[in-house]
């Protein structure tokens, strides 16, 4: 069964007196274990689509079903809690709390889930090890490179044991070496742990690594393979 399903999903924006179809009647299914890239020119609707799937934005029309739940019907607080329990997020920037160390940042999300102190600590250290940041666990974000920060963000996204991870242009601010490293880690997690990743990107190298590519233009899916 698909973990994500959208039905006739639309998100319109009013811009002065004309209407922008940021996402236009999208029907999409994503299965567990996919490593999916959402690709398209700037302004094509990638971010809007990811936000709708992630329950950060609500559709003008249509349905979003995540883990069998129609999340477009959820109220604010229920939606926040749904995101916490079901979805991992990696943003382009501002992923971390600057006053917390890498480990504390990863633990934070589990704290919101009321996990025990021991569980938090072991899992945070495990995850940071998995993204290759064993030595940086106690550093604060400002003491880490951009690439390292994004890897902490991936660890943080996984900490809550989500069904999938949404990443909107996770490599956009990174140099090519850091981009490679981050992709290696994400790909490895996908291959070895079966973690589902859905990410948007402009970067051809990132696209090349994807197992599935969804090409959007003007809010519509043009290619899907």
């Amino acid at each position: 069964m698909a973990i994500i399903e959208t039905k006739n999903l639309s998100r319109l924006y009013q811009d002065g007196d004309h209407i922008i179809h940021a996402v236009d009647k999208v029907n999409l299914e994503i299965e567990a274990g996919e490593f999916t890239a959402i690709v398209g020119p700037s302004g094509s609707g990638k971010t809007t689509l990811l936000n709708l799937i992630g329950g950060l934005d609500s559709p003008t029309e249509g349905e979003v079903i995540v883990d069998g739940k129609a999340i477009h019907k959820l109220k604010d607080n229920a939606l926040i809690n749904f995101r916490l329990q079901h979805i991992g997020f990696v943003f382009q920037a501002y992923n971390l709390i600057p006053v917390l160390s890498a480990q504390e940042n990863v633990e934070f999300i589990m704290l919101l889930q009321n996990a025990s102190a021991r569980e938090r600590k072991t899992r945070a250290q495990e995850l940071l090890k998995a993204v290759g940041l064993e030595a940086q666990m106690h550093k604060r974000p400002a003491e880490l490179s951009g690439g390292q920060q994004q890897r902490v963000a991936v660890a943080r996204a996984l900490a809550s044991k989500p069904s999938f991870v949404l990443a909107d242009e996770p490599t956009a601010n990174l140099d090519s070496k850091s981009t490679e490293d981050l992709l290696d880690i994400m790909h490895k997690l996908n291959q070895e742990e079966g973690i589902t990743f859905i990410f948007s990107t402009h970067d051809q190298r990132v696209i090349d690594r994807a197992s599935r590519i969804i090409y959007v233009e003007d809010g519509q899916i043009k290619e899907n393979h």
Partner: protein, 406 residues
């Protein structure tokens, strides 16, 4: 929730200077506010004490007609009241007085005079008449008709110690009495007007001249050990002596009583205004902090931090700022008021002005303990109110928007 406290605590130190400025301004504002309050309160207490010691005492007893028509004839018999007060342990001191209005004259000047006949020993215990003497002796044993006059009057009369002055007044029967008195002492009072008006003679001398028995007096003034007993004793006396007018200091000097009553309210208003100003500083700082961090706050809401938690985090940050400065300010204020109350603050430079209000030149700041608790409560309320607005602003952030705008 523990983490919310931890993050909040670290957050306030992200901009050390800004937080330090807010903490310091709260600290200084509250310190200064309380100290100024203690100063005003102390000033008022001293004024009250001095008025009570100087002029009005705690309780005054008169013939009820005397209050309206201050004529020699309206005396009352002191015996029964004397017996009653004599054995009352609540009393610190009391004294009887006789009074007459008339004229004082010397070769150089004559003017209106209020002649007060006092019992020297009882009066010395009751009021500070003896301490007010700057020259001469307080009713020496020897010599006929001694009188104590104010320095201002002495100057006008061109009288010195040993000078003779003439007092004219009418007795109860309408006869004008004229008698010579010898200046035995000069006193200093809080105002030159009082120095000019009031003359103190021996009660027995005055009674003889007025043709009154020694038990026939115009006034009994009493001082109590405890303020709390004043009204109780007043009521008891009134019940026992319904024909007499028994007044407490609050009735004798309503403006003094009023000042006493509104003092604390005034001080709370002062503190309140200071806190209002401080709370704008807090709100401003926290709003800046929220707006600066809107992407971070947006991210937290995106990944699943509930609005309640975001709200609490900002509230806690505000409380940290206020609770670092506030209690410190209160403690410092408490200490400096305590120090000040021991040594007093000498305002000799302004004391001429103060003297006209009946105040010493050394001010002893004082505050009731309840005021410190009240201020603590006010700090809490201020913080709560100041915290709500920035925290609400954080709540209103649209997470998706904050992430979109670079």
């Amino acid at each position: 929730m523990k983490t919310v406290f931890k993050i909040a605590w670290r957050n306030i130190w992200r901009n050390k200077l800004r937080s330090a400025v807010v903490v310091c301004s709260i600290f200084l504002g509250i310190w200064a506010g309380i100290f100024v309050s203690a100063f005003s309160f102390g000033l008022n207490e001293q004024r009250k004490e001095s008025m009570i010691r100087n002029q009005i005492s705690h309780i005054q007893i008169h013939n009820s007609t005397w209050l309206d028509q201050k004529e020699v004839a309206y005396t009352f018999s002191a015996t029964a009241v004397d017996d009653y007060l004599n054995k009352d342990p609540r009393l610190k001191a009391y004294a009887t007085r006789s009074k007459a209005s008339g004229m004082v004259s010397s070769a150089h000047y004559s003017g209106a005079a209020q002649i007060i006949g006092v019992n020297p020993n009882a009066e010395a215990a009751l009021s500070n008449l003896e301490e007010k003497l700057t020259e001469g002796e307080y009713f020496p044993e020897k010599g006929r008709n001694p009188v104590l006059i104010g320095r201002a009057l002495a100057k006008k009369l061109e009288a010195k110690i040993g000078s003779r002055i003439i007092l004219n007044f009418s007795d109860g029967q309408g006869n004008i009495i004229s008698s010579a008195f010898k200046v035995k002492g000069l006193y200093k009072d809080v105002s030159s007007k009082m120095e000019e008006l009031n003359l103190y003679v021996r009660q027995s001398d005055l009674q003889t001249l007025l043709g009154l028995e020694s038990v026939q007096v115009h006034e009994i003034a009493a001082l109590l050990k405890e303020d709390a007993d004043i009204e109780i004793l007043q009521q008891e006396l009134q019940a026992n002596f319904p024909a007499l007018a028994i007044q407490s200091w609050k009735q004798i000097s309503p403006e003094l009583a009023y000042a006493d009553e509104i003092m604390t309210q005034m001080l709370y208003i002062i503190i309140g205004i200071i806190m209002l100003a401080l709370s704008f500083g807090i709100i401003n700082t926290m709003l800046m902090a929220v707006l600066e961090r809107r992407k971070e706050l947006g991210m937290l809401m995106c990944v699943g931090m509930s609005r309640t938690k975001v709200f609490s985090m900002i509230m806690v940050e505000t409380f940290y700022l206020a609770l670092l400065g506030g209690p410190l300010g209160i403690l410092f204020a408490y200490y400096s008021v305590w120090q000040g109350s021991k040594s007093g603050l000498d305002l000799a430079a302004f004391s001429d002005g103060l003297a006209t209000y009946g105040i010493d030149s050394v001010i002893y700041p004082a505050l009731p303990t309840s005021f410190y608790w009240g201020t603590t409560l006010l700090v809490f309320i201020m913080t709560l109110l100041a915290a709500i607005y920035p925290a609400r602003r954080a709540l209103k952030l649209n997470p998706v928007e904050t992430l979109r705008t670079i």
